[in-house]
Amino acid sequence: MKVNLEQVNKTFSKGKDDSLHVLNDIDLKIEAGEFVSLLGPSGCGKTTILNLIAGLDHPTSGEVIVNGEKVKKPGTDRVVVFQQGGLFPWMNVMDNVTYGLLLKKMSKKEAEEKAMEGLRMVHLGNFTQAFPHELSGGMKQRVAIARSLVMDPDVLLMDEPFAALDEQTRIILHQELQEIWEQTGKTIVFITHNIREALTLSERVLLMSTRPGEIKRSFTVQAARPRDPSDSVLVNLEKRVMGELEEEMEKVLKEEFGDDYRFKTSAVRDRNRDHMGDHI
């Protein structure tokens, strides 16, 4: 067992009497080498779970165990790829990628060799001297992935890493991430609100319900790799996941617009059918 969450609760207090129950009794087990996606509407606590595993935040109750040890603070065995990449704008690509390596008391030469290896893996070997603002969104995410991979973490945590990218770039990066996963055999926890993305990439998709966040259903994706979104297994699964999600979406919408709102009978829904799986 690589990652293990036991009875995890998380409450954020907003002022004196007001508090927000974000996670409710989360039990989550992730095996070594597994690619797991956490899927859910915004505000369901996906990112909170990731932060708990990363050690950037602490559970209100319950335990987060990685590699048999309780998570107390961030560690290089669990590296995060953030949605905006989180590259340091004052460092060039090489310095960004070697940042964590040099902290591991690695010599500069060794670190740079390792960084080159990582950058070649994401096809950015020629951009070592560029600064982040000179790169496109997709390239920045590649650098961020390289920066995490060179750390050789046990668990790679990805927080909607491709959400801000255009569709073409995203498809390419999906392909590459699958290749990287197959080559390195890393345990990957991937957060997304995009059903198709979750199904294309992962072995297992955990669907979350919202407020308080709970793991509602777990779907195992048994489709051949490399995955093709038109694969009948994936299409079928997508429908089932969508069906489950609609209930959650209605819950969220009712919370925002009042009880009169009916998503299922709403006229917009039929038109949305064609884009099912994206931008929920």
Binding site: L56, K73, V79, F88, Y99
Partner: protein, 249 residues
């Protein structure tokens, strides 16, 4: 610029005011009379103005450096510890609103009339803005950088040096700029009130000798130095940072 100079010359030649009050800039009013340019050049040649400029700049740099170090330290403490923010942070806002020359009587009593007193008011004039700016910078470091660095294994002083400081550089530069301006005001006031040497002292001398040509020359010197610092040092720093970071153009 030319228009202003021309108007000045005309007013000076109308004899509306005595020449010592309104000296001409370029062309003397009577043969062999004083001009601001003449005094300026004379001052440079005899070294009177140059020497005074050197003295003032020396004091300014020392006082300013002290202010920067103190400001960065206070700023860091305020951003780092809640209780420092609640105590010192609140106090700094009040201190910032006190013109630094107000400290001068205290400075004279504490340090005597001289270099130390001047340094004190220069430093105290620039420290608080530097503190406010740097603490704003440190507080507003985007948490994504902090989180990224922490998951990559950084913490403590390494985190401060490699992430918090560079991420606050834009705020720190604007702090330096304002602090420098405050330091200038402080040193002029301080030197006017009393200290041997320096441009402020020369100004006071110009006043007592009723030679406004000298006073105007010194104003020109101050203007030139201010422009050079702003354009060549601070603007350049700002541009370098924005270019490197890809902020703006």
């Amino acid at each position: 610029m030319i228009v202003i100079v021309t108007i000045w010359e005309i007013i000076s030649k109308t004899n509306l005011f005595p020449t010592f009050m309104f000296p001409p800039l370029l062309i003397p009013n009577e043969p062999g009379g004083t001009t601001v340019l003449g005094t300026f050049v004379d001052g440079l040649i005899t070294g009177q103005i140059l020497e005074a400029t050197g003295v003032t700049l020396g004091r300014l740099l020392i006082g300013f450096s002290i202010a920067v170090v103190l400001g960065l330290t206070f700023g860091f403490l305020i951003a780092r510890y809640k209780w420092v923010d609640d105590t010192l942070g609140f106090f700094v806002t009040a201190l910032q609103s006190i013109p630094s020359i107000v400290w001068f009587p205290l400075a004279i009593v504490w340090f005597g009339l001289g270099n130390l007193a001047i340094l004190f008011i220069v430093a105290i004039g620039a420290t608080w803005t530097m503190t406010v700016n740097s603490s704003t910078g440190f507080k507003n470091v985007p948490s994504i950088y902090l989180n990224a660095a922490r998951t990559l294994g950084s913490s403590g002083t390494h985190l401060a040096r490699t992430v918090i400081l560079p991420a606050s550089v834009p705020h720190i530069i604007s702090g330096l700029r304002v602090a420098w301006a405050f330091a200038w005001r402080a040193i002029m006031a301080g030197e006017l009130f009393g200290a041997a040497g320096g441009l402020g002292y020369l100004l006071d001398m110009g006043r007592s000798l009723q030679s406004m040509d000298l006073v105007l020359s010194i104003m020109i010197v101050i203007g030139i130095i201010g422009t050079i610092m702003d354009n060549q040092v601070f603007l350049r720093m700002e541009r370098n940072v924005s270019r490197k970071w890809g902020l703006g153009t």
